[in-house]
């Protein structure tokens, strides 16, 4: 696959290499750092992500919307005592909109968006199975844990279906219990027994079926698909770590 496709890179590298940039973003207090990193991550996704359809639209429109939402809500909800030294932009009755509040919101929004976009570099371009394969091969994770993870992932949709049916079944029996958090808690408590009984039985069956197919016979398994770790992965890793410095260098260059 082309060097320009993020899909061709090693999943472990894609998951781990953005972590320094995420930390830098999370610890930053300015607007510039998260903004630059968010733009870089988004550019990488647009160039190498091979995004299409709704995912593409969500990747482009999502972050600005998120930033706007957080800016406005921080602007409204930030404790005025913290920002009343800044400019008052608007006063409506008892409410004053402070520029400092908006700025805090904008910075927070940019930080959240940047971390999210950095995580999506792996998230939108990686197959979960390949990630686990790569973790087994390159991080020396025991394969039993990896495959237990696979099996667990297959449990999730099943539980969702079961829970839906149990909820219907209980409603049909006349369980109401009223509204409010206590009643809801009690209701969910009632779902727990059938859900857990079903889950335990299912888990038992899955593990029997896995052992019956030789799972755990040897210390290793045949890996049919090798997830490669190549020069390009090293380049990507170096780039993603170097990205942490870009906001600083760029602001220096731009004065």
């Amino acid at each position: 696959m082309s060097v320009w496709s993020l899909r061709s890179y090693n999943p472990v590298v894609k998951v781990l290499a953005p972590v320094p940039a995420m930390i830098v973003t999370a610890l930053s207090r300015d607007l510039w750092t998260p903004a630059v990193l968010a733009v870089i991550a988004l550019a990488m996704l647009l160039i190498g992500g091979g995004l299409r359809g709704r995912t593409l639209i969500a990747a482009i429109a999502g972050p600005p919307l998120l930033v706007a939402l957080l800016t406005v809500s921080f602007g409204v909800w930030t404790d005025p005592d913290l920002v009343d030294h800044t400019t008052a932009l608007l006063t409506a009755g008892p409410f004053t909109l402070w520029s400092g509040a908006l700025e805090t919101g904008l910075a927070t929004g940019l930080r959240v968006a940047a971390v999210m976009l950095l995580a999506l570099i792996a998230g939108l371009t990686t197959d979960g199975t390949d990630l686990v394969r790569s973790m087994i091969a390159h991080l020396r994770m025991p394969y039993r844990i990896g495959y237990a993870g696979f099996a667990a992932m297959r449990f999730v949709p099943r539980f969702r279906r079961d829970l839906e049916i149990i909820r219907l079944a209980h409603r049909v029996r006349g369980v109401d219990g009223g509204r409010g958090p206590v009643a809801t808690l009690r209701r969910y408590n009632g779902y727990a027994v059938p859900l857990l009984a079903g889950a335990m039985r299912h888990g038992d069956r899955v593990s029997l079926a896995m052992e019956a197919r030789g799972f755990g016979a040897f210390a290793t398994r045949t890996e049919r698909r090798h997830v490669p770790l190549r020069l390009r992965d090293a380049v990507l890793a170096v780039w993603l770590v170097a990205v942490c410095l870009v906001p600083h260098l760029l602001s220096g260059a731009l004065g």
Partner: protein, 569 residues
């Protein structure tokens, strides 16, 4: 007995095998139950297909788990005796190591899937055994082609039909290339189309004669065609019979009936005819044999006239122009129907045809647009899995719950619950936790919980799913009793034999539309409808329609239609 027995061709040998499951009392102390199976000695040879039969709870499934060491290694149970596979004792090795010699296919296709694609799934077993990668792929391709799933190798197993997933499980077993294949009720969770798919594969595997197959299956009508030998356990878990399938089934038919073993419908029909003075010899085991035997009989009495269904004039259910969307798909397309009070309606169709949605809409489980569904009186609904609807910690509280919701006086609650406990045969377990009941008891309790408020309409979603014939028949007898008392019954079911025996009306759905609606015998005569819905006519109807000499019998679909001395079902 020749002195020199060829030892090499015995692939699976059980000697004196007894299994006692672990049981826990309230304090958490472990004890062991009564042995099921008990002292079983048997052999399965290369190229042989052995069917394991026996009444519910005799230990059939348990016995299959000893074949690859899951008992005693993994499942909490104590095993006496020895099991050897290709000469190796199962207790001296491990389950994963035995996977080279024994492959298993279990009942629930969903519980056997680990990976995210069909191809990965088939490769999973050989990969565990460190088979080199090129050979893993070669084995996977061969196995997938054999079950007809090679074209779908990149799909998520979740997107296969139930029958497709079970064929995948069979491919996974084949890819291990074991000399022994063990299948535990592989079709119990499938719709009729899925059952047929799986049996087509099993027939081919059996014809290959390249491995030993041990099969547990309650659907004898499908299995009898390719089984060489039967091993019958009695209710105590002892071996009652072990021998060639035909000889045992025809030669010991009365003993088998007494043991509670379900026989092929063709055989049951012949027994009923025998009681009416028509002897078929040899006893037929398949619909084809029954038809052939009847055609050699020069004269047959007319089938019993069906008593006109006792249907009251008033309507119980009216469905008008009901359309249901789920997400972007339309599950039901403007369905309209009227059900009169006292009908016993079966709803059939392939998975995804909209059966459950229609049943839930009728019972008011899911909301339908106002005015589209009207039910006279109260409707009760019984879910497919009884555990999903249990709410309390005691059987009697479970029955009382519905009445407490309606705030009935305590005396009335006690009286109704007491009567219902007796009727359902649950009086002895009235204080037990519902989750600790047996499968059949759970099913009866779930029906009871819906019955306690005396609904005029009782709707059941696949009440016989995953249950053996015995329990299914027990439940249907219960429903038949309710129907006789005037309750309108609507049941979603795949089991054409049970539908044929009990329902007064059959509704066939396909793609969210009603494609047939009428008396079951009429629907079974319409092969286009059956094909469209992926249904097979029940075995007796197949035999009756194949008759050339007795056209008067073509409409026979139920055992109750056969001439008999006494008017019993």
């Amino acid at each position: 007995m020749p002195i020199l027995i060829c030892m090499s061709d015995v692939l699976l040998r059980l000697s004196g095998v007894s299994v006692r499951h672990e049981m826990y009392d309230e304090t958490g102390a472990v004890s062991h139950g009564t042995p099921r199976p008990r002292d079983v000695t048997a052999e399965v040879r290369a190229g042989e297909v052995v069917l394991l039969l026996g009444p519910s709870g005799c230990g059939k499934s348990t016995l299959t788990l000893t074949a690859n060491g899951l008992i005693p290694h993994v499942v909490g149970a104590r095993m006496d005796g020895t099991v050897t596979v290709a000469g190796v004792g199962t207790t001296t090795t491990t389950v994963p190591a035995l996977a080279r010699d024994v492959a298993m296919v279990f009942q629930d296709p969903d519980a056997q899937i680990v990976t995210a694609t069909v191809l990965d799934e088939v490769c999973f077993g050989p990969e565990n055994l460190l088979v080199p990668a090129p050979e893993v792929l070669a084995r996977a391709e061969e196995a997938l082609r054999r079950v007809g799933l090679w074209e779908r190798r990149d799909d998520d197993p979740e997107h296969l039909s139930g029958g497709g997933r079970q064929r995948l499980a069979i491919a996974c077993a084949l890819a291990l290339r074991t000399p022994v294949l063990v299948l535990d009720e592989p079709t119990a969770n499938l719709d009729p189309a899925g059952v047929e798919e799986v049996y087509r594969i099993l027939r081919e595997i059996a014809a290959g004669r390249d491995r030993a197959v041990l099969l547990v299956e309650h659907n004898l009508d499908a299995a009898i065609g390719f089984v060489d030998r039967v091993l019958v356990l009695d209710a105590d878990g002892h071996i009652a019979f072990d021998g060639p399938a035909r000889a045992i089934l025809t030669g010991h038919v009365d003993e088998l009936l007494a043991l509670g073993v379900w026989l092929p419908v063709a055989t049951l029909a012949a027994l009923r005819l025998r009681a009416a003075g028509i002897t078929l010899d040899p006893l037929p085991l398949t619909p084809g044999e029954l038809a052939a035997a009847l055609d050699t009989t020069p004269a047959l009495p007319a089938p019993r006239a069906r008593a006109a269904a006792d249907v009251a004039a008033e309507t119980a259910i009216v469905v008008r122009d009901l359309t249901v969307h789920r997400g972007r798909t339309t599950v039901l397309h403007s369905v309209s129907l009227t059900v009169a009070a006292g009908e016993f309606v079966a709803v059939a169709g392939a998975n995804g045809a909209g059966k459950t949605t229609l049943a839930q809409a009728i019972a008011g489980v899911v909301g339908a647009r106002r005015g589209t569904v009207e039910v006279t009186g109260r409707a009760g609904f019984v879910f497919q899995n009884p555990e999903h609807q249990f709410l309390t910690n005691r059987v009697e509280d479970e029955l009382a719950y519905g009445l407490r919701v309606l705030r009935r006086p305590q005396a009335e609650i006690d009286a109704r619950v007491g009567a219902l406990l007796d009727r359902l045969g649950l009086a002895e377990v009235r204080e037990v936790h519902p989750f600790l009941l047996s499968g059949g008891q759970k099913r009866r309790l779930s029906v009871g919980a819906a019955l306690v408020t005396r609904p005029t309409v009782l709707v059941l979603d696949e009440p016989t799913f995953g249950q053996d014939r015995e329990r299914a028949a027990e439940l249907l007898d219960l429903l038949d009793g309710l129907h006789a008392d005037g309750t309108t019954v609507v049941v979603v079911s795949h089991d054409m034999h049970l539908v044929a025996e009990y329902a007064t009306r059959l509704l066939v759905l396909a793609g969210g539309r009603v494609i047939a609606d009428g008396v079951p015998s009429g629907v079974y005569a319409d092969s286009a409808v059956l094909a469209a819905a992926g249904l097979q006519p029940p075995p007796l109807a197949q035999a009756a329609r194949a008759l050339t000499r007795h056209p008067g019998w073509h409409g026979v679909t139920r055992l109750a239609d056969l001439p008999a001395l006494e008017p019993t079902r």
